[in-house]
Symmetry: C2
Subunit: 116 residues, 2 copies
DNA sequence: GCCGTTTAATACGGGTCCGTAACGAGTTCC
DNA sequence: GGAACTCGTTACGGACCCGTATTAAACGGC
């Protein structure tokens, strides 16, 4: 079995988390950027633009631009694949790993503070 | 006690939920809009523009515009307060309640499917 | 070597959202 | 009744994101 979470508590949790993310005004990631970031850090590498586009059901330019934005924030980085130089391998960064870890801690804390 | 959720599981949960929201391509709400929507539906009324702006730490035009957008989607509605006609009271709608409920069900389902 | 395929990136036009500033309507206090 | 204030909205210029279409580089079969 896994995590037991009634819908009313799930909504409360989403509320607390979304409020906290908006209030600190830090990240400012779009929902797609967040989905991309979490995929990169939670699923096993290697990650390519085409895979992310297919997985999220969006076009490749969406991924390219999101990587540009998150790259500026040092949340991800890119490297040419030397075996097939058409490919770009998306890599994790220390700052990105920290940001994902902080998000996990935030959700955990909000979940622990929920009423019974 | 409340919901026990290790950080690694919390991140997995966020990942699943954000992926599902992006993939179905339905709602397309910004993070601020989501925070506003959940506040309206999970905290006791009445809700006013100024309160939401203060709670989220954003300016009032942000709230006005978010209510415009979500009003077009029939997720919220507005009404003048007859006691003080400067005030606008933000009201829930059936479609909005359904959307919030669906989100709660989604999070619940993803949580239940998490590994132990 | 050549041509078709695949990859990521870029150009473009359109839409949305932002914060600051200004605004009109309504209330309060004297 | 008039000044000061509060409330929500709108105007504006700038930034970001989107999907389609196009591009340039690289690969692979022949």
């Amino acid at each position: 079995m896994a995590v037991v979470l009634r819908p009313s508590l799930a909504m409360k949790l989403m509320h607390e988390v979304s409020l906290a993310l908006v209030q600190d005004g830090e990240a400012d990631l779009s929902s797609r950027q967040l989905a991309i970031l979490l995929t990169i850090y939670l699923e096993p590498p290697p990650h390519h633009v085409r895979d992310l586009a297919r997985k999220l059901g969006v076009t490749k330019p969406v991924i390219t631009r999101a990587l540009d934005s998150m790259g500026k924030l040092d949340l991800v980085s890119r490297r040419r694949d030397e075996n097939d130089r058409r490919d770009v391998v998306i890599q994790r960064t220390v700052a990105g790993a920290l940001a994902v870890e902080r998000l996990g801690d935030l959700v955990t804390a909000k979940a622990a503070a929920l009423p019974p």
